[in-house]
């Protein structure tokens, strides 16, 4: 009888069929060991409470997104309010709007500095919060 090829042995083991022991080639037992090892759990591990850490991380990201939306709203609302105010004023009294623009142009560096300072404070706040969280939960 023709000996079984590697492919045939693999198919035999995959199917789980029993073959007469005396007809089995030497490689069959080697393959048997390989198949057994392949089904064994690898030696990797995740820490206990892994799922808690994932849930915490998701919650943290959700909170951060909410915070970013809130900050954007905080910046955009006054900006939109000012634009709308100027539009209404321009409709009623154009020279007054031009005077306002003239004033804002004079203090443009102060306005710009205030905006940069505000953004800097917000970014620093987020960085400090992240660092504090990272110290308590290194995987965040």
């Amino acid at each position: 009888m023709k000996p079984l090829s590697d492919e045939e042995i693999q198919k035999l083991l995959e199917s789980g069929k029993v073959f007469p022991e005396e007809k089995l080639p030497a490689d069959y037992h080697l393959y048997q060991k390989v198949f057994k090892a392949l089904q064994a759990e690898p030696e990797f591990n995740l820490p206990d409470h892994f799922s808690d850490r994932v849930v915490q991380r998701v919650r943290r990201q959700k909170a951060l997104r909410k915070n970013v939306s809130y900050q954007l709203l905080l910046v955009l609302t006054p900006v939109l309010g000012i634009i709308l105010g100027f539009a209404v004023m321009a409709y009623i009294n154009m020279p007054l709007v031009l005077r306002w623009f003239g004033f804002l142009w004079q203090v443009k560096w102060l306005v710009l500095a205030c905006m940069i300072f505000y953004i800097f404070i917000q970014i620093s706040d987020q960085l400090v919060k992240r660092q504090v969280l990272h110290r308590s939960h290194p995987f965040f």
């Binding site: 693999q10 392949l38 994932v54 991380r57 995987f139």
Partner: protein, 183 residues
């Protein structure tokens, strides 16, 4: 599939307890995928977390065309592969046609090294595509169609990689046993 739908809908309604259950249920699958693809076990937890965060963010896009586990395995596979491509450019990603496994360490005696441990070590030496296919087939008990979905490989390639990976491992074991007999 109904159970999957119930879990997904519950999570989409904001039930974090259901999400925690999903993580508990699938963490081994993700760990096996990620652990086999990455060489560095230190990255493992971080990448596993990243996988579940992607699962959470994209759960709304899950269309129930496959099992939830297959979909999660796909995300795990892609995340791990991307990590390897990004940070470990020298990694053996491609399943080279003429790939030869490095020789087993000499001096390893069969008494000292049990077969399972030896084969586990050899699996880690295989090219990524081979490791992935054997993990999904043997450990996760996925069928060819599911493996094709996870890896994006054609059925013929999956079968061929599976066959070659097992043959390589058998040959390594054979070499080790011959060495042991000679010693």
């Amino acid at each position: 599939m109904n159970e999957d739908a119930a879990i997904v809908n519950s999570i989409l309604r904001g039930n974090m307890h259901a999400f925690k259950g999903l993580v508990d249920q699938h963490q081994k699958l993700v760990l096996h995928m990620v652990g086999r693809v990455l060489d560095d076990p230190e990255d493992c937890e971080d990448i596993c977390q990243e996988v579940f965060i992607k699962v959470y963010k994209n759960l709304g896009k899950f269309n129930f065309q496959s099992k939830l586990s297959t979909w999660i395995a796909t995300i795990a596979y892609r995340t791990a592969i991307n990590h390897v491509k990004k940070y470990k450019k020298k990694a053996k990603y491609e399943a080279e046609e003429h790939y030869h496994m490095p020789e087993a360490e000499t001096g390893q005696t069969f008494e000292k090294t049990d077969v399972q441990h030896f084969i586990q070590q050899q699996i880690q030496q295989l090219p990524l595509a081979y490791k992935t296919v054997i993990t999904l087939f043997h450990l996760e008990e996925m069928n060819y169609a599911e493996i094709m979905e996870v890896t994006g490989m054609p059925e013929g390639t999956v079968k061929s990689y599976l066959f070659r990976a097992r043959k390589m491992l058998k040959e390594k074991l054979q070499t080790l046993m011959i060495k042991e007999e000679l010693l």
